[in-house]
Symmetry: C2
Subunit: 202 residues, 2 copies
């Protein structure tokens, strides 16, 4: 019984949903899922969200692929979720940690060109220097060329979905390395094909 | 210049979006907004999310009302957002803190009966006892009768939307009182009218 003590693995998870703003949303979600290889992650869906867990690279690989294959339909689609590492007690699913690091969906995702806009926020838990951790990762996003600006409670990224996810993954992984057994979460709203005017003036 | 130091007010904010899974999503969102009085909050929308800020009670009043009036259409609608208090440097909008505590939308929201399911997570920042803060608020949700179960990275609430929002607001406000000038965030996915089978077996 671990109680509130730390888990033993570096398992990463994301709890998210894909929201296609269309009458045929079920079809779009199922269609995207059919194009994504999820064999290297633990995955569970209920009526509110989906949870994907495993090695960091596979969690991001699967999350990105589902978003891209849903968004390439041209429908206004949003990915909204929270990534997590180091959550106390998180260990079920450890068997997925023995997978190798070859990403199963990367090649197919890279073939698509989807313009994405994201608001994301990092939450390094139990860390007095958390604001600096966040600032450092916004600087990384600036180096990537995806950072647009800070907004209340979040930072905005714009660009090709592959690049936006690359920044999110890098920021998350970097933040998780700033402290031993760090518990870090990251929220991200990622939107494609919105009919609203982009607010990406920096 | 405040830099990374604390803001001076207890202003609360939420960055969220409403996702109606329907071709007429713009109409549903605009229709809901027309029914909601937002005069006591600071509000800004861009192409990714909407940000509402002000006194805690008005932020929750407005967020709930927008969700309920969108969901009462019968369309599968999701509210997804992050509430925040004590965010370092958050002060713009302080004028809204002088509003009185009378909720402008409560009466109308209470007239609607919308069944909601929510996954929520509390993030008390820079607090070594954060897991206990979270556990205490899950206990509060159990007292409210809205708590269904813990899921990976979140807790599940079920019930009438007015009750679910009441639990969310109580948990958030309680958590923000566990430390002086606490910085606390809370994510919530709240779903109504999903065609998926409810997973609310506790």
């Amino acid at each position: 019984m671990q109680g509130l003590s730390c888990g033993t693995s570096n398992i990463v998870g994301v709890r998210f949903a894909i929201y296609p703003m269309a009458d045929n949303f079920v079809e779009i979600i199922k269609g995207a899922l059919e194009e994504v290889d999820t064999s290297k992650v633990w995955m569970q869906t209920d009526d509110v969200t989906t949870c994907v867990r495993g090695r960091s690279e596979h969690v991001f690989d699967v999350a990105k692929a589902i978003f891209i294959h849903a968004a390439k339909t041209g429908t206004h689609v949003v990915f909204s979720g929270t990534f997590s590492i180091g959550c106390p007690g998180d260990s079920e699913g450890d068997t997925y940690m023995s997978e190798n690091d070859e990403r199963l969906n990367e090649e197919k995702s890279q073939q698509e060109s989807v313009e994405a806009a994201s608001h994301f926020a990092l939450y390094p838990m139990d860390n007095p220097n958390y604001m600096q951790v966040i600032a450092d990762q916004c600087a990384v996003a600036q180096e990537h060329g995806t950072f647009t600006k800070g907004v209340h409670y979040a930072s905005r990224l714009d660009g090709d979905a592959n690049k936006v996810f690359h920044t999110l993954e890098t920021a998350f992984v970097n933040a998780s390395k700033t402290k031993e057994r760090a518990h870090v979460t990251m929220t991200a709203h990622i939107s494609a094909n919105s009919p609203s005017k982009k607010d990406n003036a920096s």
